[in-house]
Symmetry: D2
């Protein structure tokens, strides 16, 4: 079944295996007239690229995006935008020993059962390289939203049990931080923790937080295409993400209604809420406050420690995974979370009534 297509009006299809000729995406439904060049996409691509941060794989990926269609004289045509990155640094041999076994924590076993056949090199389709297409599409979506004053910002808010201090968030700093943490003090402690974990040949988990600002009230569609439902599908489709929560999230189980409800008030700027326990979503529609959600990213499954597993012939074996692997996936997931969130918002808005955001369809 087709499963690489996302979105109804702003449709994104990604393609590509880690060690095939190329990875990329096609974006269909982008309004005409948007300024779009590789340069405008590059900053997002660079935030995704490995080799630029500590604790991430040393693999050098140029990841220069090519725009193959949908753009003329620097502006979008309203037609499909195909974008791709060629896979140059493939080094398949590193992965040769993994061709016949099922790595714990990876999709190998499921793919083998599903398709009876898989590209074992570097994870194939389930590789993190698939997210290149998501980020390129997400960059387009963010440009559309920026035209309307809507921003999408994600960052690492926790590594292991080390959390950022929300009174100290500095998004500008976070863009440069090796862990994408917007709090230098927390990042220092997290880096120290990761050094210990890495020294043991092990890996760590983390949490990514995302804030969407400037969204008008009423975005989302009752009842199955609720804003939070669509964002959840989008973000949970990112590899290694194992959970998502909005506003108070799981903490809401321990609150009372009087604590969790956000009271409304009317002020100069229209109707607002005194608090934002809802995370900006009520009944599946945006409520005019910032949309805030968190996604947990599991520890990198590829570790150097010896693990027990099974090969494709059904033999119990021991496995030691060599090669380059991130100690922590979360920092590189940050820009993918932003991308999926931006794609989701654009898709919902392009299908919304004019009342929500007059003229979004005609830039």
């Amino acid at each position: 079944m087709s499963g690489s297509v996302f979105g109804k009006n702003f449709t994104v299809m990604t393609f590509g295996e880690s060690h095939g000729p190329a990875v990329g995406c096609v974006v269909d439904g982008c309004p005409a007239g948007l300024a779009l060049t590789p340069e405008l996409i590059r900053p997002m691509m660079e935030r995704r690229a490995p080799g630029k941060r500590a604790f991430s794989t040393a693999r050098n990926e140029a990841d220069e995006i090519k725009i193959l269609s949908g753009v003329f004289e620097g502006k979008t045509l309203g037609t499909p935008i195909a974008m791709l990155v060629e896979n140059t640094d493939q080094r398949s041999k590193d992965y040769g020993n993994l061709a016949e076994c099922f790595r714990p924590g990876h999709a190998d076993y499921g793919y083998e059962m599903k398709y009876g056949f898989r590209d074992y090199r570097g994870g194939g389709r389930s590789s993190g390289r698939e997210t290149i297409g998501r980020v390129a599409a997400g960059a387009v979506a963010k440009l559309i939203l920026a035209e309307r004053g809507i921003s999408v910002d994600a960052y690492t808010c926790a590594v292991g049990d080390i959390e950022i201090d929300r009174d100290r968030i500095d998004l500008g700093y976070g863009l440069k931080d090796p862990l994408s943490m917007p709090d230098p003090e927390a990042s220092q402690r997290a880096q120290k923790y990761l050094e210990e974990v890495a020294a043991e040949g092990d890996s760590a988990g983390g949490v990514v937080e995302c804030i969407i600002r400037g969204l008008p009230a009423g975005v989302g569609e009752p009842v199955f295409d609720k804003l939070d439902a669509c964002l959840s599908r989008a973000v949970m489709s990112i590899g290694a993400v194992k959970g998502i929560e909005f506003g108070e999230g799981f903490n809401a189980a321990c609150l009372r209604g009087s604590e969790n409800n956000d009271e409304f008030y009317a002020g100069d700027g229209g109707i607002k809420k005194h608090t934002n326990h809802s995370g900006g979503v009520l009944g599946g529609l945006s409520d005019g406050a910032d949309v805030v959600f968190r996604a947990v990213v599991k520890p990198t499954p590829s570790i150097s420690k010896v693990q027990r597993t099974v090969d494709k012939y059904g033999n119990n074996i021991e496995l030691e995974i060599k090669g380059r692997h991130d100690t922590l996936i979360a920092p590189r997931a940050v820009v993918v979370v932003e991308s999926m969130a931006a794609i989701t918002i654009v898709d919902l808005m392009l299908g919304s009534t004019d009342r929500i955001l007059p003229g979004i369809r005609s830039l």
Copy 2:
């Protein structure tokens, strides 16, 4: 935009406002030849119905489902199955005073901004009564899965900070428990807590857990229709659900790879895992273990306590919500979670390759 349609091959559309003439659903894509009668659906409907449990609204809903199409001589035809429940106990007048204000924690404000017009009676489309259609469709999905030895079971696993003891789970007991908790001891404590909360005119939150057993490995579609992504959209689309997590979920942030990975082994029954930290999903595909997820249900937003809010004319007002309301939504969400999970699984399986489950399309 159309937002009340779920699923690609097994498509469910729900309709209906709380106080309109009827609520229901149409299920398209159900294989032909499945035994289906109102009697087979009724047990799910009764688990959803209010008035049968303590801590739930006293409103007496017969909720007798009518099957209008798609069934002939007690078997499905392969054509759309329309099912509905007429709204008989409407008592609109109870809600009259809410017509002109935005209740905190509810979708009122978003609907007004989105549509410029809403059915204020009992929440209209955002009412819990909308879930009647989901449960009827879910009952059909569960019957399909049962034919293939797949079960979907949900229950309340936490109320406030009171959790069930997972060594003591008794699903049979849980079906009768007033809070849908499968642990009588935990339920006793939770009931006491809810009595206190209710006495204060307040409400409480909880967590619902769901286990899917018997699913073969390989269900789910890379990369956007991953099993956990689809389940997340499905479950997050249920009103009052604010988060979802699989397996270790948010706890995975604090684990190391060596702790979170599940090692495979080959035994008599084929390839298995020593543990199930993944919650039965790896790389977006089922891994052959039980699929386990949890969803947090926020405290009922309708409380008796006085709350500050705004009316539709922009005046700051005080609001006291009268009428019948559940102190805790979670117990009634249990069967809706089961339903959405079952619908999702059937939709994915009907689109899967034969390899996954030979013959599922021809019962």
Copy 3:
């Protein structure tokens, strides 16, 4: 597979078997604020109903539509609109003798092969009664279009080899004509032809023509959701329709480019075309002229004459079909063609850019 769902943003699902409890539809994605009552839908329903015309079945169908949801205080809410007609005049016994054989020209054999089981009463799902849901949804779509000055009008343009004279078209008359022909003179001749055909226990075919006026240029989406591609799917999905053509249609094969091209000119009212050989569609987009297409409706397959066929046990048999059957299907297909065309246009326009029709999404 789900096949009873039409449209992406304006989504219509029909349900129901000829002799089941009810037939109907759910319309999802209708903008909020549209005036909608059963009275506004009735004229379309009456045009579809049999028993009001000569040459159509005598079956008396009240076909009173019930609106179950999506409307409050006479206006649409933006939520799904469920509508149904109960099947009252079922007389199953008339059809009993057809339970076990495959009628020539009907879907019986395909349904039996596909589902292994079918509702043989009156055609079940493949009955003309399924179109009740289409017409109810089409009536909603036509009301939306009327708000924007767009009209959709169909009529019978040929019966056998008797064609209307296009210089003599009188749409008002056509609404009352027993054959839905807008040319009384042609209708007289056609009625005489049908009397002869009916006297022999045989049936006849015809052609329905549809004109969409007031559509701005640019409606349709390159490349697969072209205006004519979408209209073709919509109209070809009507039972008994075997072909469709736009503008010159099949005649274009015999024309030269210089004859078939429509030259543009700029006048007071903007850019226009001297001719309309294109039928209002160029490159899959509306070109500002009237959209004109024709659909051929095959002769009613149920005839009184003895036919050879096979029963479900594989025996060669002879079959004589009794009961009430239209001599000509075309007149009743007219309103269904209009409905499917209107649904298609609304679906495309709700997904279009604002440039096309500012504000269509917010009535």
Copy 4:
């Protein structure tokens, strides 16, 4: 709105403008394990390529397809297959004088109205080069069908008023014929006609016929995804196609039921029909006979003759189109019709019940 996506389970997205960097497609949902190489696709690509036939443009297109993903060790992985052809022979300057006017019979005016901006070089997105992606995807679909003994063959059956003799059809010859006509005698006459037309700087129209053999009964989905409805959308989405008809098609209007019905009989090979007036589709499902349809292809709109039109500033002008243009589009549409038909059939079959074609999902 997204309009470049086709199919639900076997999903094809095309991208590319005539004079952009590349054109191509992504195919999602192809079963794993299918042998696929550029060599297997090339024969279809060559049938589409211009410059190899008389009466077609002299433009030399290498059109070498690159497979970027979804294939490993010569077999499909079950993941998206991205394929592209780089645009090398662009010669934009030929088209420079067309940048500011609306060519009669072309999509220029609609695109300008829809997007406010367009790639005027060679038709941009509405160019025939867009069909490269369709043909590459169609080649994949045909390979899947071939595994199951299903063939799809199209050919030119008429040019102007010159028709092939159906008793003389030679498909093998047709593959080499300059007009793709499977009847050398008719082709000779047609070529002579085209020479005359070309000499006058004019163009001609034609009809393409397609036959699908080996399809089991029951393919197609009631009621909107009928086999003929889906095929009609697919084929009508090809540029220049203005009509489609199945079996007797428009001729059915003049037949009686007793003439148009196909009687069934039971013989050694199961249930068959004495005739095939239905064109292999009854009630929207395949009936076990060959599926036969015809599509009319209008005369090439680009002609050398002087035409009146309007420029984008609203001035009435005279236009003479220079450059290379086919006198007749039909021969090159043949392989595109085959491709769209094959894609449609695979999409419907992958969503069908097992009963129809056991194991199609697992090659």
